[in-house]
């Protein structure tokens, strides 16, 4: 199972992001290599989620440059990021509450669907074939994440942990190049976390998907990441392999408390 970690695919240089007086990110440089599992950790309010938002265009930093696949990226809108193959999950679950699990996951494939609304209205020929072709793909994801039995349940009724899983499914359905995960394991017990890790690692292994992960469970982070970056108050205080970070005194002081 030799994963080949490739070149830098996302490169953030000297990013600063402010909201009024709040400095969410200050002069941060950070990169992600192809096929790696890259984690972001840090205390609450450190700017981790903001970082993901910068990567996929939800926030536009005031300063700094972003290179994506080597090219300088101008102001990019979220849907453009999606078109480039960046998918993500959210810290405060952002599922479409009124839809079933299946429909939610199907939305993940929207960029791959080509029929227009008139074809949809008639639901004949191409539109139907397309719908079924994508349904097959989605069913693969469903099977992979073991959520077959809740396919037709409206997501609003699901318990928190399952919602997180559905959100992952939605992101996976897009067959992304880069997967941004914002605390995918919050609110799960150990067994569920193990399942989740398994899914993440499998995706990484089988499809070579690059993963950027925010997580507060140090056990998980240290076990599955290739490299970890540590933020504190919007500043970068550590970056490197898990072991390296774990023993960085500044990181211990700001975040870990005791060394695990």
């Amino acid at each position: 199972m030799a994963r080949k970690i490739g070149d830098v695919i996302v490169d953030l240089q000297n990013i600063s992001l402010r909201f009024g007086g709040v400095k969410a990110l200050t002069d941060i440089s950070f990169n992600v290599r192809e096929h790696e599992v890259r984690s972001i950790i840090g205390p609450n309010g450190a700017g981790k989620s903001s970082m993901l938002n910068v990567i996929n265009g939800v926030y536009h930093p005031q300063e700094g440059q972003i290179f994506f696949k080597g090219a300088l990226r101008k102001k990019m809108e979220p849907h453009e990021a999606a078109e480039q193959g960046i998918a993500r999950t959210f810290q405060n679950i952002a599922l479409f509450k009124g839809m079933t699990v299946l429909d939610n996951i199907m939305t993940g494939r929207n960029l791959k669907m080509k029929c227009n609304f008139l074809q949809h209205a008639l639901y004949w020929g191409a539109a139907q074939r397309e719908e079924i072709a994508h349904r097959i793909k989605v069913e693969e994801v469903i099977e992979f994440l073991e959520i077959q039995d809740i396919r037709k349940t409206p997501v609003g009724r699901l318990p928190y942990g399952l919602q997180k899983r559905v959100e992952l499914a939605r992101a996976l359905a897009a067959e992304p190049h880069i997967l941004l995960l914002d605390e995918p394991m919050a609110g799960m017990n150990v067994e569920e976390k193990q399942d989740m890790c398994r899914f993440i690692l499998d995706v990484n292994d089988h499809y070579g998907t690059t993963i950027v992960l925010i997580e507060h469970d140090m056990g998980v982070v240290m076990d599955i990441s290739d490299r970890v970056v540590v933020l504190d108050y919007g500043k970068k205080i550590g970056d490197g392999e898990p072991d390296e970070v774990k023993n960085n005194p500044e990181v211990i002081k700001a975040y870990l408390g005791t060394s695990h």
Partner: protein
């Protein structure tokens, strides 16, 4: 006991994606279609056709339009009646000004005109949300009605502003009798309902719902807000426009801009709320409910009280009951009659076990 899907297996995703995955539902549906399409016009009397069934169908279509916009795409609108007006007057003018204009084409063109106007008034939705947008749609309501009254060209310089719909002729057959008009309306509405159902169960509908439920997430997944919202406005206005044209051509026969007032917009909104927001069937149930309720009250309340109380009392009492019932329904089931129906079915499926 008979309402079970036991023993029915879905062998393909195509089967699973059917509108009615349960066989009993499918049979029931076709029976209903036959009754509505054949038995009703054969056996129903003129009053029912003209005063109840045709308007129910037409309002269902308008409600469907609003439901697409509000129920599926999440953009609350208080201007649906204005789009009906656009449709009605557009159809009138197409028929009037273009010689030999086929009725069905005029209907489509009316819908398209309405869709165009809808897109125009939908543009603000890209920035404005929720009740702000709702109130802003009133601009469409008032402006459109004003413009139709103000510029006599729209009503072909009729001194009263009222226009009379031309005869409806398709392939040489003139739809005159209530039965014929009913069947025509029924076919158009059923067809458009099918189209709507198809849209909402495919990627188009999912885009609408995604934008409705959480637009930031929808964007992150790759939906384009502008395109999705404007499409919803266009399709919704198209439906309302066609409903407006049918209102003029197969129902009332003569229309004036002021008939499409705010009250009517509210009425359509009621239909989707009572029927079920985000439900195709709900649009029909809601329309039936809102059209029938006042008529029912009209017949029931005086019968209850006789002439003992003044006529004003009776009318006001009906108003109170109407308002009260709306509140009552919202409390009993905020998701509308369609949901109530669904729960009933779920219970039936489990019956005789409670859960």
């Amino acid at each position: 006991m008979f309402y079970r899907e036991a023993g029915q297996f879905k062998a393909s995703y195509a089967e699973d994606a059917r509108i009615f995955p349960i066989r009993q539902d499918r049979i029931g549906f076709w029976v209903l279609m036959l009754v509505l399409g054949v038995a009703v016009p054969l056996f129903s009397n003129e009053y029912w056709l003209k005063a109840i069934l045709i308007p129910v169908l037409i309002f269902s279509l308008a409600a469907l339009g609003l439901n697409i916009l509000t129920g599926y795409a999440g953009q609350l609108s208080l201007g649906s009646a204005a789009f009906m007006a656009v449709g009605a007057f557009a159809a009138y003018n197409f028929m009037l000004r273009i010689d030999g204009m086929p009725f069905l084409l005029a209907l489509v063109l009316a819908g398209l005109t309405s869709a165009g106007v809808g897109i125009l008034f939908g543009l603000p939705s890209l920035r404005i949300k929720g009740f702000y947008l709702a109130v802003a749609t009133l601009a469409a309501q008032f402006f459109i009605v004003w413009a139709l009254v103000k510029f006599p060209w729209f009503s072909n310089n009729s001194s009263s502003g009222v226009v009379t719909a031309q005869a409806v002729t398709i392939l040489g057959y003139t739809f005159e009798s209530p039965e014929a008009k009913y069947v025509l309306t029924f076919l158009i509405v059923a067809f458009m309902a099918l189209l709507a159902k198809n849209m909402v169960r495919s990627s188009t509908g999912r885009a609408w719902m995604a934008v409705r439920d959480m637009d930031v997430a929808a964007q992150v997944i790759g939906f384009r807000l502008m395109r999705t919202k404007l499409l919803a406005f266009a399709v919704s206005s198209f439906y309302c426009g066609v409903a407006g044209a049918l209102y003029a051509y197969t129902y009332i026969g003569t229309v004036e801009p002021e008939g499409f007032n705010l009250d009517l917009s509210f009425k359509i909104l009621f239909m989707i709320i009572i029927g079920g927001v985000g439900s195709i069937m709900g649009s029909f149930l809601g329309a039936a409910f809102i059209v029938l309720l006042p008529i029912l009250l009209d017949n029931v309340v005086p019968a209850l009280f006789g002439d003992a109380l003044g006529a004003g009392f009776v009318s006001n009492f009906q108003l109170i009951i109407f308002g009260g019932l709306i509140i009552f329904f919202l409390i009993v089931e905020p998701h509308g009659l369609a949901r109530l129906w669904q729960i009933a079915k779920e219970k039936l499926r489990l019956w005789p076990f409670p859960h």
